[in-house]
Symmetry: C2
Subunit: 337 residues, 2 copies
């Protein structure tokens, strides 16, 4: 039996736990160590527990680290992994700022380590199925799309009970949530050429925005809308955190809140995935990371490539600021070859 | 028995026929004359038939005229009706240009005639029901809305078989179709403060645009999206020509393509209207006109008031041109008191 990849988890919070559960179902991987400021959380996560990532990387013999902390620590932790020559899978949002995101890419490339952004949305199986149908020509020429993303956890004096630090984030909905849909839109329809975004704060107690409406134009001409807030649910509700519609000149794909996929109103893919996160997309993301590590194949969301998604969030905020549509290329074209 | 209002129909084309059918079901009205360049069409419409509106208004004793011609003739016909002191109900689009629309209002006011724009969308009974629910507080504080408007008549070498002149119109989807949704959005959520529009031509043989995505911000803060094209239908399809969702912080109203209205997923108003146009909204619009003529009450879509809707289409095209969001107030604030 071949040796398993030895991984370490940095950050054992809400989402770290979800990732850990998925690692445990990937036989090629063993999470041998974990660190968290709360040592108890780290102890529950892995055989070796640390409060300091520096100490963990000094002491452990590892193949990769999984960075599941908040964005403001990502550059520092990638630098640390680079010094140890370790591959990295790093949670989104990629970084706090564009410059930090670019520095992460350069740091990894200079050190020759592989760096993938943990973007699970495009791995939700209903979007994989939609992609397969679109590529097979089932809807004809794509014309339009709509993502309506909803969750009902944004209201009242204590919103976002799962991630209460959301309340303080100066950028919230686009940066933290709609970035998933921007990436999935790129996955399905290619590069975003132009983006308009309007955002506002509905719940007055938060720092950032909790409603946003985006209009997007893709390189091939497809024009779509991403429409999000966190004050209601869609009907029927379910793991898709909203619903999506992909329209062509011949047919229409609908992804319902349940994750079921319809083609012109006929059920063509039923979501039977009951374990894991949102169609087990975290597991699929991590499997992809492992497969690419073992095979040498490129990551779909290699950090350099993912700069295009991060650029879309930067363009969206610039659009909110100016009231005009903005091209994400203004950010990534100079950096991404 | 009181005397019936004597009306004349100007323009007996596709939509004139729909209006005529509705007039026949309004007992307070008698359409005594009609005119059309095609005299045969006028003959089928009314006892007295003309090719010339001028001649008709000279010869007939009338209380009002119903202008169901294309927009480029509206100002001239309102001027004609004004000379004869007749009340007018006039089809949308109101006019070809903003200046013409304003001139129509001034012409009517100087002559002391009443002028209502025939905007039937806000009279579709599912939107009346939605308005009733919203005003009753059923969804709480309104946050967001979405109109997805669809029809499947835009494709191929001979699109828009009902109205083939659409092919030549320099402004199509926003000007001709989404103007309904802009007006309905005003009806439901108050004045539009800001509008962003992105539009494109999908079918290369037409002159104007056949896809558009609009983001709207209303005076009270509500932020909505109007998303339209004419290359597919919604499921289930039906008289609503798409679907709509109105969300508040407590509940969500959905209007399905069938016209049925749901509150948080529960059917609360079933569309049983089978006669007339789209929930018999043309009939309801014309009834409103007649009731206001008889009572002296203001029209909901009095021409001066409707300038706010027309301004929203002007703002949308200015936004398409500039790539930036635009306030409709730039047009109407100087004109509408």
């Amino acid at each position: 039996m071949r040796t398993r990849l030895r991984g370490a988890l940095i950050g054992c919070g809400y989402f770290g736990q979800i990732q850990l559960e998925a690692w445990r179902r990937i036989p090629e991987v063993e999470i041998v160590a974990a660190c968290d400021l709360d040592l108890e959380k780290a102890r529950r996560a892995a055989p070796s527990a640390y409060q300091s990532a520096e100490e963990m990387l000094e002491k452990e013999r590892l193949n990769f680290v999984d960075i599941a902390t908040r964005a403001d620590s990502h550059l520092r932790l990638v630098e640390l992994a680079a010094r140890h020559g370790l591959a990295v899978i790093c949670q989104k949002p990629m970084a706090n700022t564009w410059d930090e995101a670019v520095a992460m890419v350069h740091t990894a490339e200079r050190a020759g380590i592989r760096l993938m952004i943990h973007e699970n949305w495009r791995w939700q199986p209903w979007y994989r199925e939609a992609k397969r149908l679109i590529d097979a020509g089932e809807i004809g020429q794509p014309i339009s799309y709509l993502f309506r993303t909803r969750q009902k956890d944004g209201a009242g004096p204590q919103p976002y009970p799962q991630q209460p630090y959301f309340v303080q984030m100066p950028r919230l909905l686009i940066y933290e949530t709609l970035v998933h849909h921007l990436d999935t839109a790129r996955f399905l329809f290619g590069e975003i050429e132009l983006i308009y975004a309007r955002a506002r704060k509905v719940n007055p107690i938060i720092a950032g925005e909790d409603q946003a409406s985006l209009v997007l134009v893709h390189a091939g001409g497809v024009q779509g809308v991403i429409d999000g807030h966190r004050f209601s649910e869609v009907f029927p509700s379910g793991p898709a955190m909203g619903e999506a519609i992909f329209e062509g000149d011949r047919a229409v794909i609908s992804v319902r809140g349940t994750g079921d996929v319809y083609l012109d109103g006929t059920l063509v893919w039923e979501n039977r995935v009951r374990q894991g996160y949102r169609g087990d997309s975290v597991w699929a993301t991590q499997r992809h990371f492992v497969e690419c590590l073992l095979s040498g194949a490129p990551f779909e969301t290699d950090a350099r490539e993912y700069l295009k998604t991060f650029a879309a969030t930067e363009a969206a905020y610039e659009s909110v600021r100016t009231g005009c549509s903005v091209s994400p290329r203004n950010w990534w074209e100079a950096v991404v070859k």
